[in-house]
């Protein structure tokens, strides 16, 4: 009969119309500024630099190796190395970035920088409300604006942050074990040759 399909279609929209008052499934609107969708864990928006402890510069993990600057597809990272060194989380003196800019008007949040960074220094943030009135300066983030604490990292990506911390802790343990072993070896060597030259060897070994 003519019109049968049309009536079935009308039935379908009527079901949705009635359903929208009843089931959440039929009304999927989220009033954005007031209500928010539950944040999904490994969402990635724009990169940020991770620092341990509370001092932005001292705890900064980044050692300005510029791997991310080379690998970044749209070339939006700009790093200037520092002249002096600062001790990193294991205590080894490392260079740090005197200047670390990311132009987020160019960045496409593809997280390749996170993937290639050997020092777990750059991670993806979940902050996306970054609109500014100033199109040039406002979207060029410098090091201080980018640096965020490890706690922030734990808050936005808990599982990933836990894995990263485990890896760093294990690395630190390995380095300390090696350092201790080196210290013992030095001490043993010092103990083995006190007969010949007691004084000079001890200082250098400690």
């Amino acid at each position: 009969m003519l019109g049968e399909g049309i009536l079935k279609g009308l039935g379908e929209t009527a079901k949705n119309f009635a359903g929208s008052f009843v089931s959440k499934e039929r009304l999927t609107t989220v009033q954005y500024p007031e209500e928010r969708v539950a944040p999904i864990e490994n969402t990635r928006d724009f990169p940020f630099l991770v620092y341990d402890g509370d001092d932005k510069l001292a705890g900064l993990r980044c050692v300005a190796c510029q791997i991310c600057e080379k690998e970044c597809p749209p070339k939006c990272i700009y790093i200037v190395k520092s002249t002096d060194k600062k001790p990193d989380f294991v205590g080894k003196p490392q260079i740090y970035p005197a200047r670390f800019d990311i132009d987020i008007s160019v960045c496409m949040s593809c997280q390749i920088c996170v993937e290639v960074c050997p020092f777990e220094a750059i991670k993806m943030d979940t902050e996306f409300e970054l609109s500014t009135t100033d199109r040039f300066g406002g979207l060029l983030f410098d090091r201080d604006h980018l640096a965020k604490s490890n706690e922030h990292y734990h808050r936005i990506h808990p599982t990933e942050a836990a894995e990263v911390d485990a890896r760093l802790a294990e690395e630190k343990a390995k380095v300390e074990a090696k350092a201790k072993a080196a210290a013992e070896a030095a001490a043993a060597k010092a103990a083995a040759t006190p007969v010949a030259k007691p004084a000079p060897v001890k200082e250098s070994g400690a």
Binding site: K75, C76, Y78, S105, F136, G137
Partner: protein, 214 residues
Amino acid sequence: MKTAEEILARIKTALPEAGVEVAPNPSPSAQHSLLLSPASAVAVASFLRDDAELSLDYCSNATGVDWPGKEITEKVKVAKLVEGVETLVEEAVKRVEPGYLEAVYHLYSVKHARREIAGPVVLRMRTGNRTDQVTLPSLTPVWRSVEFQEREIFDLFGIVFAGHPDLRRILMWDEYEDHPMRKDYIDPDDYEYEPTPHDEVLKRAEMRKTEATV
């Protein structure tokens, strides 16, 4: 499907005078290609499409490749009189290999899709050089699927296809003269026509690159 050699043999039996040889492909994908001479290209293509055994009736991909000229310094054994004695001497000869533009076609068979196929049958055609002899016979009369793709090759590489029904630029605007996909294409410095921070980042990247090379 057949390997490139078997197909070459079939073509030779059907069209003895066609200029076709196998161009090997060293990568593990082992997709060797058939290098066609432009003169007999359309005949070979029609044969490949109409042959009952092969029936390569579907040209999936047609694209251009730019091989600019390279200077090759070869060690050449040259017989030379050294203090009156005829000896063979190693000599570095700098030879400029003339570059060429290439059109590559990947063919499949829809009729024999059921049979296990090793990969596409690849045809290659090369132009005389990269400046004036850049015309190749168009294969659109044989496979209609390459019509827009040949227009794109003309637009981005500059290969002129003789026999193409409607050879115009497809992606760039018509008044554009240059061919962007060629290896020696120079990017216009700032085509965004407005200063953007991105601009400085690019300039710095350029500077650092020049420092690196110098």
